[in-house]
Structure formats: structure tokens, C-alpha cells
């Protein structure tokens, strides 16, 4: 009797297992091509509906802009030259435009405000150590960050965003796609690489569009070779100081822009080489195919672009740099003023690192700056400047630890670097090292969050660092053999 009741209930109420069992057995009957036939049905319906709904007005447009532009921008012959030309123009505008406001800002924040702050502190009888830590350390670090970084960013980011909104970046991806395939990587890596030009952490998150874990890891590890927000200003500044100054002033901007483009290109080449290497060693496999849709060109909305690129990128990056500059400024000031024996801690560290730095064609100050600047690449140049002033007590341009006068144009930087014993080799290697070294701590943390693997995080961190050291070492050795002491 009880059995019968159960049977009735079971007959009426179908269980989850029963559904799954039925599905399983039916699946066998249907065979393999279910997925394809489903897709076919969808395509067929889509075609039918669109046929009914869309009519193309029979009126030949006079000139199809999109087609013509695409033919030019993605052609085998003109695609790459145009890409280089556009990049060069963008950097040239940035470099020649940032020069003057940068100097003005520096002279205002450092020449005018700094002494006022010192006076105010003295009036209130602030203890010397506190005054030094706050005003010479933290305030000066922020002042340097703002004056060095704000002008190039305020020019570069809007230009770059305009290119993005116009629809140019997917064309770049299209041009690079076949190269990525040859390197055994996913074509979408061109997109994540382009995202990396804004911020590597964003580029790393963007690799989620890549389905295959193997290709995704390649994209994550090589994203660091895309110069990010924080490193563009370094490249631009060093290029204009050392490389631009070697030619007549009229050509300076153009030549420095070319140098920055060259470094960015080297980054792309390293991306391919590293991808190729990884896909043949620890991340073996075939490249998978995908379809990339070229979006239509859209006239960018100038005002909105200016607004979003200023708020989202410029202010965002600047704010981040300032936040990291605060502790860095304190560290720099302390290292320059806490003495062990007759030398400050900073001097000990710089002297200790100097031999190794020189071996790489860099110097102790640069290496020490890179360690302080691990949290954010943005503050490398300001850190180097402050360390040079405070620890080496660069004479002629500074007075005491970190107080400066007479800021004219970029002159001040040139004098400072000369005082620190810099040569053209130092500049070139700094640009190279800035391109190829460990990712910043935000990027490292993002890599860990995305991969959930200490192993891959470590590889992504140390692989570029080792590569950077090797590249700088070889460049320095070859330079010294052929060009002389540097």
C-alpha cells in the first residue's frame, strides 16, 4: 500500500536526477553536432529577421570614409609607418608642450612656496627634525611629483584618449594580430597590451577576455612591457634632457619624441620575443583563433574626453603618485639625515650600490630610487632628483639638504644630473631599465589576484627584472668598448 503511494508521488513529481538522466540519454541520441545545429538555427533566424527589418537606402554615398581610412591604417605597407608617425606626433606635442609649464610649476612650488613654509615653521619654532621631515622631505617630494608629472600627463592623456575614442587602438591591435599569432600568443593580447599603456594593472585585469589560461598567462607576464602611466613621464623627461639636448634646439622635441617611440617599440618587440619564448618553453601550446571587430570610427567628443582623461587618468595618477610620494619623501629625508658614523644612511646605501649600478651603466642613486619607488613607478624621477640633491649634496644648484634656487627651464635638471655624474649612457640605460624592470606593487598584487598563484606572480615579477639587468649590463659593456667610458 505504502509502495503504491510512493509510486504515485513519483509519477507526478519528477526529480532533479530524473531530468538530468533524461537529458543524458537524449544527448546520446542527438549526437555531436547539437552545438553547431543550434548555432545554425540562431544564425538562420537572425538572418531572416534582419532581412525583414533592415533596408539599405539605394543611394551610393559619395565617399566611404571608414573604408578608405581602414585601408590606410591597417594596410600591410602603410599601417606600421602611420602608427609610428601618430605616436611620434603625440609625444612631440607632449614634450614640447610640457617643458615650460613644468619649469613654472617647479619654480613656484619649490622656489616660492618652500621658503615660505620654512619661514612659517621657523616662526612657530618647529623643531628642526620635524621641519626637515615635513617640509624638506614630504613637501618637497610632493612638489617634485607635481611639477615633473602634471604637465606631461595633462597633455599626453587627453591626446591618447582622443585616439582611443576615435577607434584607432583596435586598428593597432589588428596590425599586431598576425605577429602575436606567430609568437604563439592570442591576438587579443594586442588589446590588453594597449590597455597596459594606460595602467598595467588595468591591462592585467583586461586579460580576462582571453579564454585559454596559457595565452592569458603570457599576456599577463608580458603586460609589463607596455609603458604605463607612471613610466611615460620618466621616459619623456629623460629623453628631453639627454637626447633632445644633443641636437639643435629646434629639433630637440622631435628627436626626444623619436627616442620615446623607440623605447615604446622596444617594449612591443620584447613583448613578442618574451611571448614567443614563453610559448615554446614553460607555456607550450598553439595559438587559438578569434574574431576582432573593427569598430566604426566615431568623431571623439573633445570636451568630454578632456574631462574624463583629466579626472580619470591625470588626477587619478597624480593623486596616487602624491600618496606614494609622502612616505617616499619621509624615507628620503630620513636616509639623508640619519647618520651612521660620518655618513648618512642614504650615502651608505648609495655607495654600497654604486659599483653594481655602474656595472649596469646606471648608478647607486638610481638603484636606490627604484627600491624606494617599488610602490609606484610614478615617483622614480622625483626620487632620483631628491636623492641626488640630498645625499650627494649637489653643489652649485642646491644649498643645504634639498633647498634649491634659480630654476630656469630644464636647465636645473641637467645641472643636477651632471653633478650626480650622469652621462648619456646613464640616461639611455635609465630609459631601458624603466621599460624593463619589475612591475609596481599594485600590478604585482593584481597579478596575484588574477592568477591566484605565487609561482606565476613571482615569474611575472622577476623575469622582467632579470631581463632589465641583463639588457642594461650588455648595453653598458658594449657602450664602453665602442664609445668609451660612460
Amino acid at each position: 500500500m505504502k509502495n503504491q503511494v510512493d509510486n504515485i508521488i513519483e509519477k507526478n513529481k519528477i526529480t532533479d536526477e530524473e531530468i538530468l538522466e533524461t537529458a543524458n540519454s537524449l544527448r546520446w541520441d542527438l549526437g555531436e553536432n547539437l552545438h553547431d545545429s543550434l548555432l545554425e538555427s540562431i544564425y538562420q533566424d537572425a538572418a531572416e529577421i534582419s532581412e525583414k527589418v533592415v533596408t539599405k537606402v539605394d543611394e551610393k554615398p559619395k565617399f566611404d570614409w571608414d573604408r578608405t581610412l581602414d585601408r590606410l591604417l591597417t594596410s600591410k605597407w602603410t599601417g606600421f609607418p602611420i602608427m609610428l608617425l601618430i605616436l611620434t606626433i603625440v609625444f612631440w606635442i607632449t614634450i614640447s608642450g610640457a617643458n615650460v609649464p613644468s619649469a613654472l610649476l617647479a619654480s613656484f612650488l619649490i622656489d616660492t612656496i618652500h621658503p615660505v613654509l620654512k619661514d612659517v615653521a621657523a616662526y612657530f619654532g618647529t623643531p628642526l627634525w620635524l621641519d626637515g621631515l615635513l617640509i624638506d622631505g614630504i613637501y618637497l617630494a610632493m612638489a617634485w611629483v607635481i611639477s615633473v608629472m602634471l604637465p606631461p600627463m595633462a597633455i599626453f592623456f587627453p591626446l591618447f584618449t582622443l585616439l582611443e575614442d576615435f577607434g584607432y587602438l583596435p586598428r593597432v591591435a589588428f596590425n599586431l594580430d598576425s605577429l602575436f599569432k606567430k609568437a604563439g600568443a592570442h591576438g587579443k593580447q594586442a588589446l590588453t597590451m594597449a590597455m597596459g599603456y594606460g595602467c598595467n594593472a588595468a591591462g592585467i585585469i583586461a586579460t580576462r577576455v582571453i579564454d585559454s589560461p596559457r595565452e592569458r598567462l603570457i599576456a599577463i607576464i608580458t603586460n609589463n612591457f607596455s609603458l604605463c602611466n607612471g613610466r611615460w613621464p620618466t621616459q619623456i623627461l629623460i629623453a628631453s634632457l639627454f637626447i633632445g639636448s644633443m641636437v639643435p634646439a629646434a629639433l630637440g622635441g622631435l628627436v626626444s619624441a623619436t627616442a620615446v617611440v623607440a623605447v615604446a617599440l622596444l617594449g612591443i618587440i620584447l613583448t613578442f620575443v618574451t611571448s614567443w619564448f614563453l610559448s615554446r618553453t614553460i607555456l607550450k601550446g598553439e595559438a587559438s583563433t578569434f574574431s576582432l571587430e573593427l569598430p566604426p570610427y566615431r568623431p571623439p567628443k573633445i570636451l568630454q574626453t578632456l574631462y574624463t582623461s583629466l579626472i580619470d587618468r591625470t588626477i587619478f595618477v597624480l593623486w596616487r603618485a602624491i600618496i606614494f610620494a609622502v612616505p617616499a619623501g619621509a624615507v628620503i629625508w630620513l636616509s639623508a639625515n640619519v647618520m651612521i658614523g660620518d655618513q648618512s644612511i642614504g650615502e651608505h646605501i648609495v655607495n654600497f650600490m654604486d659599483p653594481f649600478g655602474l656595472l649596469l651603466g646606471l648608478n647607486g642613486v638610481i638603484l636606490f630610487a627604484y627600491i624606494i619607488a617599488i610602490p609606484a613607478n610614478e615617483i622614480v624621477i622625483p626620487t632620483i632628483l631628491m636623492l641626488t640633491v640630498m645625499i650627494l649634496k649637489a653643489s652649485g644648484v642646491g644649498e643645504g639638504a634639498g633647498v634649491m634656487f634659480e630654476l630656469d627651464d630644464y636647465q636645473i635638471y641637467t645641472e643636477l644630473f651632471a653633478a650626480g655624474g650622469w652621462t648619456l649612457l646613464t640616461a639611455i640605460n635609465l630609459m631601458l631599465f624603466s621599460l624593463v624592470h619589475n612591475p609596481c606593487s599594485t600590478a604585482i598584487y593584481t597579478i596575484y589576484k588574477e592568477t591566484k598563484s605565487i609561482k606565476w606572480t613571482a615569474i611575472s615579477t622577476f623575469l622582467p627584472l632579470v631581463m632589465g639587468i641583463a639588457i642594461c649590463f650588455f648595453v653598458a659593456q658594449i657602450w664602453r668598448i665602442f664609445i668609451g667610458a660612460g
Partner: protein, 265 residues
């Protein structure tokens, strides 16, 4: 006539009577919306137009990988809106497609707004038809209508709406055209004033049809009142692991309850 309408809806006084942009300040809401669509159809632009947020909208596919949330108030109802990653399909297993698919199915949006690129109707329909299988609360936003005009395309949105059985609103989100009509349509579907009768994929082999109807019968028996039994059946026949798991865990039960609740509201 369209011009007149445009003048009216771009006028700030007219908009502000009904729409209040909330940005990210959403703690409670009456209705949840999902924004779905192919990559680079302007989902983020529509999202910004509705929420007043300024998510950067890049002109390239794959801008939004994770979902972004925001909110607005329209006609005194609070709406939460989720911007899903753009996908071409919901059938494969890549992360972005799963995020989009799972949210439409398990996230229980009250209305799914599908953004279609008016210049690429046929390709966009592939995704649209798949979403129509999953849910029956849909508004289609036919975006980039200005670009379609520029490309000499004429689109009969009424016929499209009839074919698909859901409201179709032509918009140009960049210029703010059609946003007001879109809001009205969302409001109507969310409040049950407009009942969608979504198009279902018709063709298919005989053996498939038989298999589907056999399974649909069982699913409808198990989860009475379920609206997307056909789609679930198809997914089970394909062996979709996430849907199999959902059946095992009884997650579909909750879906059914939700539908009942909102209908009694």
C-alpha cells in the same frame, strides 16, 4: 516630428521631472536592470546616460570585463543597473560570457536591456535571440541609430519589435536621443504594463524538437511556472556544467519563486 521629440527630451527640465541619476549610491532598489549586448555597442554610454556616472567609454570591444553597477530613480521607483561585459554569444565558456549569462539567469534582473548596434542588426541578433530564450522581461535599445542613418540604413523598429515580441527603442546614447523613451519602456516592462512575448528560435531538426519537448515536459513538471524551460532543456542537452549544477542544487527552484513573487506584486 522626430525633431520635435528630440528637442523635448534633451531639454533638462523635461528630463529632471522623472529621472534622478544616483551614481553609485545604491543601497536599496525596487527593480534591478541588466545591460547586455555585443561588445562596442555603447553599453557603457547608455549606462552613463542613465546613472550620471562617468565610466570611461573607450571605442573598442572588450572595454568592460567585469560588471559595473550604478543606479537611478525614475517615476519614484529606484532602479539598480548592472553593466555586463559585452559578448557575441552566451554559448561558450569564456569568463565574460559566463558573467553575462549567469547574471541574466541567476542574478534575476527585473528587466534585461539589450543594447543592439543598429548598423549591425544581423550579427547583434545572434546574442539577442539567445537572451530572448533565457528571460521574458526585455527591452531592446537600438543604439547608434545616428550611425545607421549615416550608413544609409533604414531600420523598421516597429517590425523588429513585432518580430521579437519585446519593445524596441531607437537611441543615440552619445547624443542623449531616445533615453527618455528607453526609460519609459523599462518602466513599463518592470511594472508589468508591457508583457513581452519573446521570439523563440524556430528551426531545428525533428529529433532535436522531440528531445526538447520531452525534456521541457519534465522540467515544467518539476519547476511549475518556469518561463525558460526550453532554454534549460537545450543547455542540459548540450551538457552545460553550470546548468547541470543549478538543477542539482535546486537553484532553478528559486528562479521560479521569484517569478511568482514579482507577479503577485
Amino acid at each position: 516630428m522626430t525633431n520635435k521629440l528630440n528637442n523635448c527630451e534633451t531639454c533638462p527640465v523635461h528630463q529632471s521631472t522623472y529621472l534622478k541619476k544616483l551614481g553609485v549610491n545604491m543601497d536599496r532598489w525596487d527593480y534591478a536592470l541588466a545591460l547586455a549586448g555585443n561588445p562596442n555597442t555603447g553599453k557603457s554610454t547608455v549606462f552613463n546616460a542613465l546613472t550620471g556616472l562617468r565610466q570611461h567609454t573607450g571605442n573598442w570591444p572588450g572595454k568592460t570585463v567585469t560588471r559595473t553597477e550604478g543606479g537611478f530613480i525614475y517615476q519614484e521607483k529606484r532602479y539598480k543597473i548592472v553593466d555586463l561585459p559585452g559578448t557575441y554569444s552566451l554559448l561558450s565558456t569564456s569568463t565574460d560570457e559566463e558573467v553575462a549569462r549567469n547574471f541574466i539567469l541567476f542574478g534575476k534582473p527585473d528587466v534585461t536591456v539589450i543594447i543592439m548596434d543598429a548598423t549591425r542588426i544581423e550579427r547583434n541578433l545572434n546574442l539577442t535571440l539567445q537572451i530572448l530564450e533565457i528571460t521574458d522581461r526585455i527591452v531592446i535599445c537600438l543604439n547608434l541609430i545616428d550611425e545607421a542613418r549615416r550608413h544609409q540604413l533604414r531600420i523598421d523598429e516597429r517590425k523588429l519589435s513585432k518580430e521579437l515580441g519585446v519593445p524596441v527603442i531607437p537611441t543615440s546614447a552619445r547624443k542623449g536621443e531616445g533615453i527618455d523613451e528607453l526609460l519609459r519602456a523599462i518602466h513599463e516592462v518592470a511594472n508589468g504594463l508591457y508583457v513581452c512575448k519573446p521570439h523563440h528560435i524556430t528551426s531545428g531538426s525533428k529529433s532535436l524538437k522531440r528531445a526538447v519537448s520531452q525534456l521541457v515536459e519534465k522540467i515544467e513538471n518539476r519547476f511549475s511556472g518556469i518561463s525558460n524551460a526550453r532554454w534549460i532543456a537545450l543547455r542540459l542537452l548540450e551538457g552545460d556544467p553550470r546548468i547541470i549544477e543549478a538543477v542539482k542544487k535546486g537553484e532553478l527552484d528559486n528562479l521560479y519563486q521569484r517569478i511568482e513573487n514579482t507577479e503577485t506584486k
